[in-house]
Point group: C3
Chain length 667, copies 3
């Protein structure tokens, strides 16, 4: 990428009247240089089966070309037209709730051949139309693609073939999944029951894994079509999203982002987050670190909030703070969903840069400032590269397995992931994410592993070696409890890595009035709490960092640390208050020499950095608060880009509320 992209999703199709010229004028005024179009407009592009209408696409592309604004074309396949369902009702996915009915987006069976046939045709028609246009810089495959819980007879049929491929002998399947329990044994492939009724978490989790594979297949099928048409200089991306808790919260349960991104040339993402009094930047950083890690490269923020829901209207300064936070995480674009607010239907309140009156407003006006800054010094910021010493190991399989056994847990996988991530974020520890199949483990000085409930032996053995060879681990409770088929290990817990951790347990419980003792943590009494889960640890070779404080459990360790080979492996056997976790992490970071000057700053002062295309170090200081902050600049002397002013190491700097500085270091 040769410049930062600053843009919006733009739907000429949704406009209440013809405003194309007016919109482009307002975009140019804001230095918007890219729009994303066409995604979800199938019923406009192909109003009847085989009848195509490129009016909107043509006029937008032509106008953008003239205005010098780039265009990303999305394939329209994630929302199907009414004629398709009227003609072929079985394209609607069958889920545990039965067959869907028309209305919502993302309700089709992504394996249905009829759907695929018509989807392919419309993609090809669009590609023929747009791929040669100069302003078209790339393509988005579908949008927020997931498997939509598709589980009809046809899908289950494919699943049985998939299982046969893994387990040639049905009894291996029975044994591995423990199907003898409650008489669930399948003694002949022909007897395979409806998987939607299963109470067997191994079978259920494997089916969800298979459903994630369907997403990979669907996306690479689309990518193959696109690749037939696309120019070399055009990219292919996807708009990934996250576990949704009213905003982008954590690992996406229905997509394996690492696998799904293989067919892309650049990863893309949408990130929505709390704002106003609740803006912390955590989700921007989390989503950015995740997406940057997919291809170890810069990524596109294809959607983020402008005014969003009713309580997402940004305070003065917040829109700008957010934009640079994306760039500081390695994004090469900031694109709003969307340009204008929609006057009908589901997302009427998911507002764009323009309100329903389509006039200027404070949010649009702040976007103008951002556009201006991107234009004036964006070339210093684009293609920011990072080299982090810390990685967090995440796993879709662990997530799904914990969902299946949630009856015993008061938390979900992503609560543990975020518990860990958030403390690192607040201490300005830059992180990558890696998956269970990562080849890059050795690259990191410290790997943090939250609740890796389900893990293959191979990975666990690799972790032992990693520590032996000088790597460092922080592993939490509920890790390595089962194998990749969610069979609990009958070896000592945690399976295999008890070796590097030097700790084991065979009982666990839910804490009731439990705190920690015997530690050196700098925490208050109210912070000394353990919730939801505790394992009754016995250190074998490890030293105990903290014991449980409780009349019956006081003899058990809660947190341990083990020197193993050249490395150190820390185990946290319980879900502690975040203050305790912070103390544990500080201890580890200090011991492995990762606690530097930046870690002395804490949220709401967030520091991010990286190296630009010229290999110049770029440092960001963000003030995520309503309080004016006076801080000491701790990096090398440089040019503060927003004011284009020199700044010296050690100099006092004032950060206004929701403001930031960006320094290009001078070596």
């Amino acid at each position: 990428m040769d410049k930062l992209l600053f843009g919006v999703a733009y739907y000429d199709e949704y406009m209440p009247y013809d405003r194309l010229d007016e919109d482009i004028k307002m975009m140019k005024a804001a230095n918007i240089n890219v729009v994303r179009i066409a995604e979800s407009t199938w019923s406009s592009v192909e109003p009847q089966n085989g009848e195509f209408d490129f009016k909107h696409i043509d006029r937008v592309i032509d106008a953008m070309e003239k205005a010098g604004i780039s265009v990303i074309v999305g394939t329209p396949t994630y929302a199907i037209p009414t004629w398709l369902v009227a003609e072929c009702p079985d394209v609607l996915a069958v889920t545990k709730n039965g067959q869907g009915i028309y209305g919502a987006r993302q309700n089709m069976d992504i394996t249905n051949p009829t759907y695929l046939f018509y989807a392919e045709r419309v993609i090809r028609k669009i590609m023929e139309r747009v791929s040669k246009k100069k302003c078209v810089i790339g393509y988005q495959l579908d949008n927020e693609t997931k498997h939509y819980d598709t589980a009809g007879t046809n899908v289950q049929h494919l699943f049985i073939k998939y299982l046969k491929n893994k387990f040639h002998d049905i009894n291996d399947l029975n044994d591995e999944f423990g199907l003898a329990y409650w008489s669930n044994k399948i003694n002949s492939w022909e007897d395979f029951p409806n998987v939607l009724g299963t109470i067997n978490g191994s079978l259920g989790a494997e089916f969800e894994k298979f459903q994630r594979v369907l997403v990979n297949k669907f996306l690479s099928w689309q990518a193959d079509i696109i690749n037939e048409y696309k120019r070399e200089d055009q990219f292919v991306t996807q708009n990934f999203d996250f576990e949704w808790r009213g905003y982008s919260y954590g690992v996406q349960p229905r997509v394996n982002h690492f696998e799904a991104s293989k067919c892309l040339t650049i990863a893309g993402v949408d990130i929505y987050h709390p704002t106003q009094d609740y803006l912390t930047g955590t989700e921007i950083s989390f989503g950015g670190d995740m997406t940057r890690s997919l291809k170890n490269d810069n990524y596109l923020v294809l959607e983020t909030e402008a005014q969003g829901f009713e309580n997402w209207v940004p305070y003065d300064g917040q829109l700008r703070l957010q934009a640079f936070s994306h760039i500081a995480s390695g994004a090469n674009s900031v694109m709003y969903w969307h340009w204008h607010s929609i006057h009908n239907s589901f997302e009427t309140y998911w507002k764009g840069l323009l309100s329903h009156d389509l006039k200027e407003n404070p949010t649009y006006n702040e976007a103008k400032i951002i556009g201006d800054e991107f234009k004036s010094f964006g070339d210093k910021l684009v293609n920011l590269k990072k080299k982090n010493d810390v990685a967090i190991l995440i796993s879709n399989e662990a997530l799904t397995a914990i969902e299946w056994f949630s009856m015993t847990l008061d938390f979900k996988y992503n609560d543990v992931v975020r518990w860990v991530y958030d403390e690192l974020y607040k201490m300005n520890v830059g992180c990558d994410f890696i998956g269970p199949d990562s080849e890059d483990i050795e690259k990191y000085k410290l790997i943090v592993i939250p609740a890796l409930y389900s893990a293959p032996e191979e990975l666990l053995n690799k972790l032992n070696s990693y520590v032996k060879n000088g790597g460092n681990l922080v592993v939490t409770f509920k890790s390595a409890f089962t194998n990749e088929y969610v069979k609990v290990s009958h070896n000592d817990q945690p399976n295999i890595i008890n070796e590097c951790l030097g700790v084991t347990y065979n009982q666990f419980t839910k804490p009731n009035k439990v705190s920690l003792k015997g530690h050196t943590f700098n925490i208050s009494e109210e912070e000394n709490t353990v919730e939801h889960w505790m394992e009754l640890l016995t250190a074998t070779t490890a030293e105990t960092v903290a014991y449980y404080d409780h009349p019956n459990w006081g003899k058990y360790s809660a947190i341990t640390k083990n020197h193993y080979g050249e490395g150190i492996a820390t185990y946290i056997g319980c879900f502690t208050n975040k203050a305790i976790l912070k103390e544990v992490l500080i201890g580890v970071l200090k011991e492995v020499n990762l606690f530097g000057e930046e870690q002395k700053y804490n949220f709401p002062i967030i520091i991010k950095s990286g190296y630009n295309s010229e290999n110049e170090k770029i440092v960001y200081y963000f003030n995520y608060s309503y309080e004016k902050q006076s801080i000491k600049y701790i990096h090398n002397d440089g040019i503060e880009l927003t004011k284009n002013k020199e700044v010296k190491k050690g100099e006092e700097v004032i950060l206004n509320p929701w403001d930031l500085i960006i320094v290009q270091e001078i070596n």
Copy 2:
């Protein structure tokens, strides 16, 4: 009506043994002069297809005739017999939950021809039997009729025809409803999808509007049949009910009462309300004002609670206080649901005047006092007429639209309606209700408009003229946001009436720690709160009554007042604490000269008045509390009717707990 009706619903069919003579004796002892019969007894009247049995109807009518008690005959159509469903299962309504199963009442498809055929036959048979009986004074069509969410293929078929009638060109429909969004465009009428799945609020709300039209059609179809038989002196009514929140709360979502009442000769209603410590009279007044407004005339209370649910057993005095509260709102009847408590089935605990032992009890004994008073001075009270200066404009369309966009709101339409109504009630401001099609707007000095989310341009233009010509408005947030098809206006907000209001906005949010500043309200700090919703107002020609008190929103107005032509238009841009609303309303009432002596009294002292058939002014003072109240009588000299004693203007009067006085003024 020549006298107040005092009565009960009476079901000989439900009696555990023959008590007709005993019941009539007890009714006469309580001066009960009317019973309602036959409603919901189809399976008794027509035990098999085409076999009729009028035993219960005949014997009750004959006995009532002899006893001098009038009879209202209800058609039995709102609960269908088992044979009908066994023979024709498709009479059961198909809703979004699939086809219903037999059991509950109100489960049929009111458009189903089979149902209509049999319903018509049984109605005609009953009419032939009863219409010439002298004691029969009127008919109730069905009961609490609604559309029961009927939405089967046949109903959707009718809906498409209804839409075609409105939108001759399908593209007008697509544009008006914004169906291009998420590929929902319907490019051919044949492609019309199942409306139950729609995520388009314009389409969904229009379907609900169409369902309300079905209710109007059904009732007028029944009225037409009844009218073939009824004598001139017999009335036709319906038992309307309200949004149910464990009691009668607000505007009925599934019926447009204004439209549905057109086929009636007199409006009827049931009103259920909290009692004991929670009795305030608000629902009696609200339901009464609504029902009186339907035909601008007196109305029947066809059902109200006797002992009701477990916590509805009235305290001493409450049953009488309630009865006269109905009359003071313009009711010409008080009828209990029901005479005796039922010994089996769903409403066992919805108790009647008699308990399950069918003997005298404190509630029945209090009914005897009421009956005695109705008899002795009811002729002074009947046909009470009111001329109110204030109207509240309500809208089914606004209600439905807000339901569709409830994801963004922490309240429903009726919360706003009641927020406004309750403050007016507590200040003794008499109100009428008007609908969006009202021809009577000019009649009122002040119109209060809560959350008129969806409004046609014509109405909004009319409101501008109304103010210009000297009318006064109080409009709340979320008004005039969309047109009648729930398309958000792309003009300045609030659409069109921003002219008379002199205010506009294009951003809004959810308040977090927001209060008001710059006002002159007499409120405490705890009362100075804004919840759920705030619009960031900019006054154009209006003056600001209050600003938001908040670090980021302090520059925006919250409440404004605008002199426009001869009138004043007030806008309340946020959901305030009720204490603030009260202050705003007092300000408006004073400015438009509607703040009189009665407004100096407040709940729990409630004052109601009107003019009887002789045009004598009748004034009620109610004490809605457990505290004895000493108050000054502020109306003209008159006769206090309950004690038949003179009372002078300015005299101190004692109101016992849950007691009242009724004064006939002497001019």
Copy 3:
């Protein structure tokens, strides 16, 4: 039984590898002398239709025989194999949620002939294989059998026949059930509607009663098959369970245990209960008293928790305290569910004596202590007989009826049962349970009747006679309100027994800020509360124990006491604080001479006693707390068995936390 059974459920089928020898070694080390096998393993025993595989059964029985461990064989019928559903999908029960899908246990229609055909075949095959084995001491029919809400057309067909048998004339049914209401009359048997839709509680409750009859039929059908094979010395049992609220809470709604146990030779049960800080022993005592009462004999605890859910890991001493609590209630066995924790599927966290690592652990180690004690002095404890003076009358019909009318109640039947039971338990009052058909009423000095909502006249007349002849009653609110068909009585309430109680009412309500006055209870102000329900009582011949304290209800009695013939009948008209109930019960116990020395002790000191086979009195003192307790031993001199030491009446005894003493009195 000649010894205490100490055992586990054991599933060779579920083992991750062959551990039979190792398991037996560890069992022997813990003096485990019985295992339960085969239940729920149909898919292992009959992997394909008609192909049998007894591998696991054979090898376990052979190994146990050799090891001297007894075996209870469960029939495998409560979880069906995949081939059965694949071949005959209609074996899955149709409930109000439609037809089930394969996966969970207990999902079949227990009346389906196909299911019964295959179930019978597999039972016979197993019986042929195992019935002659010496170590097999008994059989368990199915497991936790219920009707699984089966309600398909075939079941409803049987229900109509069942009703025809009771009500020869359909109009008797209509009258008794009050079907005229809301037009529900069934005027011809052919018109019988789908009972799943009914809103008639009489019809609905009768259907549930019929469903409970299906359970009786199913179990006695299995018993008949077993009886063809079983040796005289082998027993037949069932594993009953209770209303589940995360643990065994109260009367089982879906089974009439009294009726269902008739086909058994010994009653069996599973009891799960809170532990750790929440262990009280109440559920052990409640479940034990219930199960002992079924056949007035000792019973088997076939399942109880080892480590159970995450918060059921016992504190040191608790497993042992629990074990002896079972025995002290009359159990002849303590069997854990289950030996080893399961490595896959639904109950992964419902842990056995062994954790997933299958090694020794603190819980297993405590089991070893118990096994050792059972072995050394179990012969003194086995076959403990009780003669209680107090019985609690419970009723499935009352439970179901209160469910149907729960809309008016803030509590369920079992809340009232446990409210009463728990206070008696905490005062060490030994209780039996009796059903409405009990022939043993006269045996008891005091019968306590919680919320007997639905009761036949015959029973009520019997209760009048019982009191007249010197029996004593404590009856709570909501008793004798309806007849056995849930028709509310139109006589004075409580129906019929108002005679012995000397009290009546015809109004009731939900209390709001109501307490009691006029009493002599020793309670604090905070304890003086009435919640959920109050009846406005008028004493006829009774004296008032307490009045309501409330401005409007102060004239009504709340609790009354009546001398009637030779007995005393107490009525509690409201749901009081448990402190009030305790005071009422103390008053009654004292008056009828049932308040002895043991009642001066209170929870956490629990005293239980009975007579062993030698008619020696055995007394248990339990300390259900974390506090060391110093108490006076109040029984006759004897031998304390756990320490084998003499103890004298009046001696001070120390009870350690969660510890107990067991004394064999020396007469």
